[in-house]
C-alpha cells in the first residue's frame, strides 16, 4: 500500500553515479528457438535488481499456476524467468517469444535498453527489428545442440547489419555438467562461422564467446566458480564496458542531416515563447531546417552542401544551430536540432544537408543487400517503394542477383527472394538519392522496401557499393 523505499540509498545512488549523464547502451538477444534468450534476460533483470516487487509477485503466481518450480523450489528457482518478458497471452500459452519485448535497466555504469527477440524462424522479422538499433547482440546457443541453422541465419543477419559487438552465450552449460570440452568445441565452431562470415575480423564487428547458465545465473552477472576453466568476464561486465556504436563511429564520420521539415512559423509563433519574451520582430522571417543528425557533427560556420534529388548540390554556410530557444555552437549525432543556412535556398523535407565535399553523387541505381521480411516474395520487375532518410520514392526491381546459402554462406543464383532470405538485388529509383555504402554509413546506407499496395514493410535494405563509384571517389565543389 505504501511504496517501500530506501531513500537514503536512492539519493546516494543518484549522487554517486551521475545517472543524468550515464549514456544509453542498446542490446538485443538472438539465437534459435528455446535456447534460453528470455530466461537469460529475466536473469539479467532479476540479478541486476531491475525487477520490482509486484512484477516478481505476478510472475511467481503465474509460474506456480503452470507448475513451474515444483515442490520444494524456492526463490528465483521457483519462477519461470522468461515470463518477465514474454508478456503476450499467446506467448505465455505457447511458452515462446513472438515479438520483441523492450526492457530497461541500469547499473552503476550504464543505462540499458534491452530487446528480447524471438528465436522462431517465422518471427525473424521481429529479431531483425530488435537488432537494427542494437549496439550489441547476445546470440544464445544451447550447449547440448551447438550451432544450428537459425544460429547461422541470425549471425549472418548481424553481420549484414554490422552490429558492432556480437557476444555468443553458450547457454544451459549446467546441462552438460559445465564441461569445458563441450564449450571449446562450440567456441571453435562459432569462430569458424565468424571467419566464414567475416564477423569479428572485418574491423567493424567483434565476436566474443561466454559460457552461461541463464537458469542458474552462472557467468551472467557474476563469474561462476562452476566454470573455473573460463577466465573471461561475465556477460554483464562485457555489456557494461563495450563501447556503444556511436562512440565508435560518430567522430569518424562526416556530417549528415536529412531534413525532416522546415520550421517557418511566419505569424504563428508559439504563444508561450512570446509570453516568455521572444522578440516577435526578429522571428518574423525565421526559417530553419529541422532534423536529427544521423552522423558526425556540425558547427556554426561550417560549409555544407544541400542535396536535393535531381539537382546539383548547393553549397552554403551554417549560420545557426537552434534547439528550443537555445543557440548551440555545435551539435553531434544523434541530436535533434534546427539548422539555419546563410543562403535562402529552397530546401524541403527529403533533402539532405551534409558536410561540403564529402558526398558522392546521388544515384538512381541502387545496388543493395536485402533482408526479406515478408511472406510476399520479391520478384524481378516488381514495383516497390524505397524509404531512405526522410524521402520515399518509387522503385523498380530490375534484378535479383543472388541469395545467401546458410550452409555455405555463399551466394547462390536466385531470381526471387522469399521470407527470411538474405539476397542481393538491383533497383532503379524514380529519383536519385544520396545513397552511401552501409558499411561506412549505418544510417544513410539503410533503407526500407515498402509494399505500395498495403504499405507494409517488405525488407530491410543495405546499400552496397555503386559500380565504378567507390567510397574514396569524392567530387569537390
Amino acid at each position: 500500500m505504501s511504496t517501500e523505499i530506501d531513500t537514503a540509498r536512492a539519493a546516494a545512488l543518484l549522487d554517486e553515479a551521475p545517472l543524468a549523464h550515464a549514456s544509453l547502451f542498446r542490446f538485443a538477444t538472438a539465437g534459435s528457438v528455446d535456447d534460453g534468450k528470455s530466461t537469460l534476460v529475466g536473469r539479467l533483470l532479476h540479478d541486476s535488481k531491475a525487477i520490482l516487487a509486484d512484477q516478481l509477485d505476478a510472475v511467481a503466481r503465474t509460474s506456480a499456476d503452470r507448475g513451474f518450480g515444483g515442490p520444494g523450489a524456492a526463490g528465483v528457482q521457483a519462477i519461470d524467468l522468461a515470463l518477465l518478458t514474454d508478456g503476450l497471452r499467446a506467448e505465455r500459452e505457447q511458452g515462446i517469444t513472438i515479438d520483441v519485448a523492450y526492457r530497461y535497466f541500469a547499473t552503476d555504469r550504464r543505462s540499458f535498453i534491452l530487446a528480447d527477440c524471438p528465436g522462431h524462424v517465422q518471427y525473424t522479422k521481429n529479431t531483425v527489428t530488435g537488432a537494427s538499433t542494437a549496439d550489441a547482440v547476445v546470440v544464445l546457443i544451447d550447449a547440448r545442440k551447438g550451432v544450428l541453422e537459425q544460429t547461422r541465419r541470425h549471425l549472418s543477419v548481424l553481420q549484414l547489419l554490422r552490429v558492432a559487438h556480437v557476444i555468443v552465450a553458450v547457454n544451459k552449460i549446467d546441462l552438460v555438467d559445465f564441461s569445458e570440452s563441450v564449450f571449446r568445441e562450440i567456441e571453435a565452431d562459432v569462430q569458424q562461422v565468424g571467419r566464414e562470415l567475416g564477423l569479428g575480423s572485418d574491423g567493424i564487428t567483434d565476436l566474443l564467446v561466454v559460457p552461461v547458465s541463464a537458469l542458474d545465473g552462472d557467468n551472467v552477472v557474476e563469474r561462476s566458480e562452476r566454470t573455473p576453466w573460463y577466465t573471461g568476464p561475465a556477460l554483464l561486465e562485457v555489456l557494461e564496458t563495450l563501447p556503444a556504436a556511436d562512440e565508435l563511429e560518430s567522430h569518424l564520420e562526416s556530417f549528415r542531416f536529412p531534413v525532416q521539415l522546415v520550421i517557418r512559423p511566419q505569424g504563428a509563433l508559439a504563444p508561450d515563447a512570446v509570453a516568455g519574451g521572444l522578440d516577435v520582430e526578429a522571428y518574423r522571417d525565421y526559417r530553419a531546417y529541422a532534423g536529427q543528425i544521423t552522423e558526425g557533427s556540425v558547427k556554426v560556420g561550417d560549409k555544407v552542401s544541400v542535396l536535393t534529388p535531381g539537382q546539383d548540390p548547393r553549397t552554403t554556410t551554417v549560420t545557426g544551430i537552434d534547439f528550443a530557444g537555445a543557440s548551440l555552437t555545435e551539435a553531434v549525432a544523434p541530436q535533434s536540432v534546427a539548422i539555419r543556412l546563410a543562403d535562402e535556398f529552397d530546401v524541403a523535407r527529403g533533402d539532405t544537408i551534409a558536410a561540403a565535399g564529402t558526398v558522392r553523387e546521388a544515384s538512381a541505381d541502387l545496388y543493395a543487400a536485402l533482408c526479406w521480411l515478408s511472406p510476399k516474395p520479391l520478384r524481378e520487375g516488381a514495383k516497390v517503394l524505397v524509404k531512405h532518410g526522410t524521402r520515399t520514392v518509387q522503385a523498380l526491381v530490375r534484378s535479383v542477383s543472388g541469395k545467401l546459402d546458410l550452409a555455405t554462406f555463399k551466394l547462390e543464383g536466385a531470381s526471387s527472394l522469399e521470407l527470411n532470405d538474405i539476397g542481393h538485388a538491383q533497383l532503379r529509383l524514380a529519383a536519385p538519392l544520396p545513397l552511401e555504402n552501409y558499411l561506412h554509413h549505418r544510417r544513410t546506407g539503410a533503407f526500407l522496401v515498402i509494399d505500395p499496395l498495403d504499405g507494409n514493410t517488405l525488407a530491410a535494405g543495405l546499400v552496397n557499393d555503386h559500380p565504378g563509384d567507390h567510397e574514396d571517389e569524392r567530387y569537390s565543389i
Binding site: A10, A20, D99, A270, L373, G455
Partner: protein
C-alpha cells in the same frame, strides 16, 4: 532560455573526441525525431492529453520540436467524467498557454445516450476506447500521439513506436510491422490510423528526471499533500464525488501523492512525503513497486488486462 535547466545539456567540445549524449538527451532527441516524422508524414495528427505527467512531457517535447512555431496539432482528451478537478483545471490552463485547440471525447455523453453502460465496478478507464475511436473518426485524425511507455506494462513492452490500428482501432500484436533503424513506416490504408509513442523508451525515472531538468509544471496531486482517503483493494482511494467509501471503509487523512492520474474512481494514491520534484525523483529511484502495480485497479483484473484493452482499441 537554457538558464532554468538544473542540468546542462551535454556539452559538445571537440568533434574529434568521441562525445556521447547523456541518456536523457538521447531519449529527448529520439522523441523529437519521432514527433517531427509523424507531423511530416501524416495529414492530421493529434496528441492525447490528459494532464497526466506522460502527456505533459509529450506536449513539452512537441513545443521543443517546433520552436519558435506553435505546436502544429490539436490535443485530444478522453474525459471519463471521473476527473480530479485540479487536473482538468491544469489541462485548460496548459491548452490556453500554448494556444492549442482542445478536442474532448466524453465518456459521460456516451453513457447518457445509452451507447455505453456503466460497469459494475464503476471503473471508467476501460470505457474510454469508444469515445476515443469516435473522436478519431469524427475528426479524421490519422495519427494519434500517446505518452505510453514500454516499461509500464508487459503488453506495452511489445508495441512498436508507430503502431498500426485497423478500422476498429484494434492492435494486432501477432502481426506487427518490422520497425527498422530509425526509419518509421507510417503508411496506412483508408480507415486505418496510427498510434505514435515517442517516449516508448523512457522509464518512469527518466520522465521524472526530465520533469526536474526542464522545470515542467505538473498538476499538484503528483506531489505530497494531505487528503481524505480510504483503503480499497490495497490502495488509498481519494474521497470524492465519484469515489465514496462503503460503510465499512474508514476515512482517514493521509499525506499522499499520485503516481498516475486517471479515472478518480480507480486510481489510487501512495503514501509519500515527496513534496518536490527532487523528492519524487529520489522516491522513484528507490521504489520497489511499479507505477501501475501501485495505483491502477483496472490492470489488476487479469494477467493480460492491458493487452486485451489494446486489442480493442485502447491507448
Amino acid at each position: 532560455m537554457s538558464t532554468y535547466l538544473t542540468e546542462e545539456p551535454t556539452q559538445v567540445t571537440d568533434a574529434a573526441v568521441s562525445t556521447r549524449l547523456s541518456s536523457l538527451d538521447t531519449l529527448e532527441s529520439e522523441a523529437i525525431h519521432i514527433i517531427r516524422e509523424v507531423v511530416a508524414e501524416f495529414e492530421k495528427p493529434a496528441l492525447l492529453f490528459s494532464g497526466g505527467k506522460d502527456s505533459v512531457v509529450m506536449l513539452h517535447l512537441a513545443t521543443k520540436a517546433f520552436w519558435p512555431g506553435k505546436v502544429p496539432f490539436p490535443v485530444l482528451h478522453v474525459d471519463t467524467g471521473h476527473n480530479f478537478p485540479e487536473v482538468i483545471d491544469f489541462r485548460d490552463r496548459t491548452v490556453e498557454r500554448l494556444g492549442l485547440k482542445l478536442v474532448v471525447g466524453s465518456v459521460q455523453e456516451f453513457i447518457d445516450s445509452g451507447e455505453l453502460a456503466e460497469r459494475a465496478d464503476g471503473t471508467r478507464n476501460p470505457l474510454q476506447t469508444v469515445p476515443l475511436l469516435d473522436a478519431i473518426q469524427r475528426n479524421k485524425f490519422d495519427a494519434v500521439f500517446g505518452g505510453g511507455r514500454r516499461d509500464e506494462d508487459k503488453a506495452r513492452a511489445k508495441e512498436r513506436i508507430l503502431s498500426l490500428r485497423d478500422e476498429f482501432g484494434q492492435w494486432d500484436p501477432r502481426n506487427q510491422r518490422p520497425e527498422l533503424w530509425n526509419l518509421y513506416n507510417g503508411r496506412h490504408t483508408v480507415g486505418q490510423h496510427v498510434r505514435a509513442f515517442p517516449i516508448s523508451n523512457w522509464t518512469e525515472l527518466d520522465v521524472w528526471r526530465y520533469i526536474e531538468r526542464e522545470n515542467i509544471e505538473l498538476p499538484g496531486l503528483y506531489y505530497a499533500h494531505d487528503r481524505e482517503v480510504f483503503a480499497r483493494d490495497g490502495m488509498w482511494r481519494a474521497v470524492g464525488e465519484v469515489s465514496q467509501p462503503r460503510p465499512d471503509e474508514e476515512v482517514i487523512t493521509k499525506t499522499v501523492r499520485y503516481r498516475t492520474v486517471g479515472d478518480m474512481s480507480c486510481t489510487g494514491a501512495v503514501e509519500s512525503a515527496a513534496a518536490t520534484v527532487r523528492d519524487v525523483v529520489i522516491e522513484v529511484a528507490a521504489s520497489t513497486i511499479t507505477e501501475r502495480g501501485a495505483t491502477r485497479a483496472d490492470d489488476r483484473i487479469s494477467e493480460a488486462a492491458m493487452e486485451d484493452r489494446k486489442k480493442d482499441g485502447y491507448f
